[in-house]
Symmetry: C2
Subunit: 693 residues, 2 copies
Amino acid sequence: MNTDLMFIVPAGALLALIFAAFLYYTVKKQSPGNEKMQELSKSIREGAMAFLISEYKVLVIFVIVVSCLLFVASMIQDFNMHWGLAVAFIVGAIFSAVSGNIGMRTATMANARTAEGSKSSVSKGLSIAFSSGAVMGMSVVGLGVLGIVSLYYVFHIMLELSIETTTNILFGFGFGASSIALFARVGGGIYTKSADVGADLVGKVEAGIPEDDPRNPAVIADQVGDNVGDVAGMGADLFESYVDSIIATMALSIMAAAGVQRFSPVTYGNNALFIPMIVAAIGIISSIIGTLIVTLGKGKNVYGALRNSLFLATGLTAILSGIIIWYLIERWEPFAAMLAGLIAGIIIGLSTEYFTSEKRKPAQGIAGASKTGPATVIIQGLQVGMISTIIPTIAVVAAMIAAYEFSGFYGVALSAVGMLSILGVSLATDCYGPVADNAQGISEMAGMGVEIRQRTEQLDAVGNTTAAMGKGFAIGSAAITSLALIFTYMITANTMLVDMGKQAITLSLDNPYLVSGIFIGAMLPFIFAALTMGAVGKAAYSMVEEVRYQFKEFKLLENDKNKPDYERCVKISTNRALKEMILPSLMAVVIPIVVGLVLKPEGLGGLLMGSIATGFLLAVFLANSGGAWDNAKKYVESGNLGGKGSPAHKATVIGDTVGDPCKDTSGPALNILIKLMSIVSLVFLPLIIHFHL
Amino acid sequence: MNTDLMFIVPAGALLALIFAAFLYYTVKKQSPGNEKMQELSKSIREGAMAFLISEYKVLVIFVIVVSCLLFVASMIQDFNMHWGLAVAFIVGAIFSAVSGNIGMRTATMANARTAEGSKSSVSKGLSIAFSSGAVMGMSVVGLGVLGIVSLYYVFHIMLELSIETTTNILFGFGFGASSIALFARVGGGIYTKSADVGADLVGKVEAGIPEDDPRNPAVIADQVGDNVGDVAGMGADLFESYVDSIIATMALSIMAAAGVQRFSPVTYGNNALFIPMIVAAIGIISSIIGTLIVTLGKGKNVYGALRNSLFLATGLTAILSGIIIWYLIERWEPFAAMLAGLIAGIIIGLSTEYFTSEKRKPAQGIAGASKTGPATVIIQGLQVGMISTIIPTIAVVAAMIAAYEFSGFYGVALSAVGMLSILGVSLATDCYGPVADNAQGISEMAGMGVEIRQRTEQLDAVGNTTAAMGKGFAIGSAAITSLALIFTYMITANTMLVDMGKQAITLSLDNPYLVSGIFIGAMLPFIFAALTMGAVGKAAYSMVEEVRYQFKEFKLLENDKNKPDYERCVKISTNRALKEMILPSLMAVVIPIVVGLVLKPEGLGGLLMGSIATGFLLAVFLANSGGAWDNAKKYVESGNLGGKGSPAHKATVIGDTVGDPCKDTSGPALNILIKLMSIVSLVFLPLIIHFHL
């Protein structure tokens, strides 16, 4: 070890995992409520676990195939790929899957407990829901850092591989994490929306029964979907961003250490390598402190509590990182770069909140457009989504340029690390949402009375806001992480070429192959969005048929004693989601390799750049349009413009239905697309270069 | 002159103008129909001219301001800009405006004559409508080529400026044409859709009167809109592409002549300069022949006649160009490059037709989605639009790479010239559409009986198909023209720098300023689309209020003798469209300059690339989604899925309303955005370079 502070890294990781375990047991020892509630919670949990297990079956095959390919490739000397890549890939996949599993288990255990806790007070309910979210947050950051530091230790310290080879091996860890994220996000996104749309179209629209009515056979699948999409999917997405950003920074730190002028304006020495890991560890500690003020708090302002915990964690991370970076390298520039990312992340989150909140003009404007019918609601929503790309784009661009001016490409990657450093607490805030949503559903289904329902509604409403911010944050971090990865791609490619005694490539816009790559890359997000949207449609259609069949066959609406078969709906969502996720997922893995081989490394660079730019914009557009439509509907439902049942309500419900697959399936799936294609390119770069020499 | 064949160029231009005049008088001498028809035609014509005149008032100010700025800039020696730029700019603006004016005059004269001609036969009606479209087509190509060759003659031959300076001056001609195109496309697009939506929402939906009912006060504004948007807007758009592609090829030919390896694989000698102009002239002659087979034909297959004329013109252009290129430079590669563009243009047109035709699966699938309501119609339409980006993207990329491999950047620009060479006839096919549409409206309003209505409906239906193809073609040509311009930008920038004894710049993706430019560039089409969409919404809202007011105040529905005040509606559309077009238009001109000054020439290069890629994709997406929604509605209206008045019809009408601003305002406006920003960058490049040295 080059530094006596390095102990902080494994310590931080372990601390996160211990804290996660502590929170898990704190949640577990809460009362799970009455029998009815327990039963509902159990159904949701079993459905969620059934999905995860089915998904893992597909994943295991994928992981085995890919790791075998990586292993075989490492046998071929010419390709210059280390067998450690295969190992790291497997570890990455397992760590991501485990963190997702822990998060889902906790979330599906906490839902009934949150509803029950709300009996004593709102803040009790908040504490339980947030604690369960924090279990996910802490598992992700703990396992993420633990994975990286372990692989670093094994390959660099124990096996004494060079630091260059070690970081190349770490790309495999990112690739493993990305693969899980892909399936979790795409499969989870299709699952959640097909169940939601299916439940709503037949239950609410055709049969006229309320949302979360236990007579609706798809109601459990719908609740499962919240966990599958927003807990497991979101968690895996951010696990990927988190580890990718740290790995990219480590890879770039080698250049920064060498002080190569083109890559970094100054020399930071060998300690630059440890900064991303140490900042992550500091972020963990700050996140734990931030978490405690929510779980221990007694305040009634739910949103305020969540926001304060985020701000506290942000402030602490900033201060402590500044001190430690100065201690390590006696320079302030990398700290400034990191800070740029941290601030950009918050700005993107706030912008998302503005454009989607029902309290703000954009969503209210969409609701107002319902005066001239659903068509104008749709047009206005498209507009809001498109306009909402301005602030996130400027934030990303400004952070990138600032970070680059401070510390070169190393700084850009570090800004992504900065943005993600408080993931422990910000992910807790995200995962709080679906738990509160589930608690609300259970209180409804179990007939817990008006007062409890109002309390859980309050928790749920805040969950919607934090979910919107979380989505913006996920997109922003995906963009800046992808940028860090593409810079790493360019530098790694040239380092490899120069090491082989060949000429470095220039990724210049006057190369038509590169321009072709940009065009194809810019096209992919559109195709990916269309495929995932179509998948939701197909899966929802199967669900609609099933619900209609059960209503008719079991006479569910005629006789209260007849019980629906929840499990069949859960199975349909599961099977369809897994089937439909295959094509877009394979696309994301195969296309970069094919383009790299056909259009050369330059074309692949263009592909990545095109897909990052357009993917980021399309993701923001889809997520914010969808969020704004959702909240326009909620705005009407809370009594404005005629309230529930009015023509305005009907028009905004149409908007919401259009927005659902946009914001919960296609938009978030694009985060994964851009990161995964970047990391695949990095992993297979030696192969691509080999075939072009 | 370096070649004895050069006489073809002015001869071709004059031939086009003579042929246009001949067609104009042929159309004019047809019977204009009865008094009622003449009156309607006159109202449309006056409305269209009123819009043009109001638009010109804005344009004159813009042209004066910009030409003064250009002139002042040319006084400052350091900026290295020639005063000829200001002259060329004015000429470009005037030539584009004149061709638009001729086209509008003819189209608004031909509408009643087409309806009247349909009395004798469908082919008679076709001949009149197509002839009037061909007046526009021939005016555009004639004036385009005439402008370029005149400026070339004045500055290069008479004033003996170097060929480099002359081509730089020609960029001014492109800039002038682009400015008119911007206002015509954006203003026209806002006009046409606000009138359409306003007329439909109050007339069809609220009052329940049929489309084109003369009691609807907005009905004339709606008819005017077809001319303003689809004749003047489309014409100016393609005038811009046409001249830009020729100018870019000329600029790049200098490199090709010098045989600079990086820009062109081989030396073509000085004659390379004349190839684009001569190919354009050949295209004109071929287009005239293609046009004649429609106007002289007696066949009943309207679509077949139009398609055959296109194919004949394409074939003739290809063969003649091949021969002449060989004669000029004794090489086949530039011909192959040109052919690549020609083929890509046809493929993009056919792809657009497939994805939007009511006879094909995509639009029918959208109609089928109406079973589950309007929301699924919207989702399915978004999907179709997104998926439809594949073929155009691959066509553009393949054409670019093929053209580059054949003849370097010169080849890429030449492929755009190839694609646009048959503009004379393809624009005739486009402009035929609104004339047939108007004829159909007039036959309806004048109560010409069922048989005539069926005939004009047949003409109109074909017009819809050709309009879709024309839109695809316009987008494809905009993309490849913009690519030619961006390559010209890069090469010109480096030529300037090297001439000044400075180091050439590299537009490489490892430059964060360039990457920032790409992000901002990729964002602009979203913002531009949102602004234009919003403008339609605001303008349509004013129209809705006016129509409601007139219905109530003049008791139009209660008493047949009360006449609506058409002119007021025309005025509202005109004023709102002109007001709303200012912001997006200024954006397109100012942003490239600002970005160039702030993010350096590299950032500006990135901006152009990002905006071209995303602008192209978004334009295809919006145009094809809109077209498919439109035809899904028509599919239902022709008796499928319950026909008119069914729930399926209502759902698809909502889709169509959403699609209207997408396909007729925002999508087409993006064509202009990407070309205009490229040409603005080229014109102000000396200034930008000056401030960065």
